[in-house]
Amino acid sequence: MNPQDMKPQREAWYRSKTFKRFRRNPLAIVGSLLLLGFVLVAFFAPAITAPQLASIRTARPCLRDLGIKRDEVLAELRNPLKPTFWKATLAPPQTCYEIPRDGFSPLPKPPSKKHPLGVSGGSYDILYGLTWGTRTAFYVGFLVVGISLAIGIVVGGMSGFLGGTIDNMVMRVTDVMLSFPGLVFVMIVSVIFGSGLTTVMIALALIRWAGYARFFRGDILRTKAQEFVDAARAIGASPLRVFLKHVFPNAIGTLLILASMDVGSIVLTAAGFSFLGLGAPVGYADWGQMISFARGYILGTAQGTPFDFWYVWIYPSIMLVLFGLAWNLLGDAVRDALDPKS
């Protein structure tokens, strides 16, 4: 046999025991289906909300930036053959994330033909906010996980690779970061840099990296102790080569999988800040911001009439809870699949 043919065969991921355990977990299936639903809603948001874009006058800036006229909206945004469809779906202008307002009445209006889920106070269309809010949710979740993961991998990797004093110092810093309530940190950052969705996202990323750094460092130390690392060192590979070629690729898998499951909890946290008024501005397509309309109606009204404007807050809170649930179901199933003992 040719020596070249003797390369170790990697098992295909879909045949692995881990994936089999994942697939057989009914909760994993429910979570995946829910998430698939959210992905579809986010992807087809422009097509779903085309009637709103066509009929509500304040949607004009979005149409202007897309370069279409009001009477062309339905034909353009629901036809995958048109370039505008792809522009609106893949790279919509920021103005499209502003929920169009059908008037300026402070009172919500119940679901009607024109507004299938009703309008909230200030006449913001709720269906529009929910569908485009799905996009905001994915955007916030992925970006925060991405940034904090990048910081965590660099810091945790250095800490595990270098060891010694640096490792000690880094771990003390992460101790402090992990024990300090995130909410308070976001509040300080918002006061100093001004509130907004971007500030909240940066602040969340600045808290989250500590957990990833710690986890990654632990995995690196565990991988470092394995025999193939000793073998690589024994045949004379430099420490940097051993780290980059052998330790790093073997240690990072679990972190990437587990971190990606944090998207849900990040979106829930960010929605909380939007609800408080520190995150997305009023009128932005964000579920937390949409629920904050409810504060006045529920707490302001007398006992006995809390459900007069139910559609204002029940729809977005259901979306938010289902989104968090989808990710947590997946995350739980993934954790179970990775660690058969638990």
């Binding site: 909760l27 992990l178 509040m187 937390g288 629920i291």
Partner: protein, 341 residues
Amino acid sequence: MFNYIARRLLQIPVVLFVLSLVIMGLMQLLSPQQRAAAFVTSDKQIEHLDQIIEKYHLDEGFLVQYRLWASEVLRGNLGFSRISKEPVLTTVRKRFPASMELALAAFVPIVLVGVWLGTQAATHRDSFLDQALRVMAIVGWSLPTFVVAIWLVAWVYGGLGWFGIGRLPSSLLIELAGGDFRRYTGLFTIDGLLNGRLDIAAEALKRLVLPAAALVIVVSAGIMRVMRSSMLDELGKDYVRTARAKGLPEKTVVYKHARRNALIPVITMAGPMLGRMIGGIVVIELIFNFPGLGEWAAKAALQLDVTTLLAFVMLIGLIMATANLLVDVAYVIVDPRIRYE
């Protein structure tokens, strides 16, 4: 043990010192005018910011500023809160009992519910009960605090008319109690009991049920998950088999032998849980109209009241440091093998 506690207590000022350095460092990103607000002690002074900037050298270097700020703080002047229109320390003294009462009312049920459900799930592993509890825990973990709070206000308070929201107002307290109501602790439930006025304690408790329930729903799910998996770990160990082989009743094995050991990872979770609880309390106080420190801080953040927020951060630092010390002491009580030198 005593030495260890003493040493840890001495560490608390160090933690606060580092925290204050970080805060002051962040403050340097603000303009001198904004920083000046931290030194204002009355409404009138707000009009003379320039004098304050000059007096406290706010346009000078970091070290000069820090020394001056620290000497003010050490003299007990934490600044003037724009939100509550009085010195920060006065507000903290007024509002702390409210938050404390809410936290205490939620803490006991959180631990009991979490530990009990976790034990039940582990002892009935893979049964219907276990599956149901696991799904409940995941759902509970996926519920944002503010959503739970809104649903409770709308359904239970608004729809069913049960319980109450908002803390017992002082004016109502005076009206109910007359002149001879002594405030021992500031916690209305306990004060009511100490004064022998059950009606006041009940009225205060009625208003605590919903906010505390919101916290329990959100926080106990996490404890339950940890408790379940650590209990499963313990039940699979040799000493449990030995205990069963000796013929001990299953109850003794589970509750006396396994559970005590299973509690250790739960205690480790206490720190992150406290963080989640503090975050929850801020949101819940705001929604339930509960005049505690969290509501104050949330309003301060919305109105860019830096002074108030700084005081809040220092206070949280103090609380977290104390809580971590208590966690370490709790370890020793649960597991006598752990020794601190």
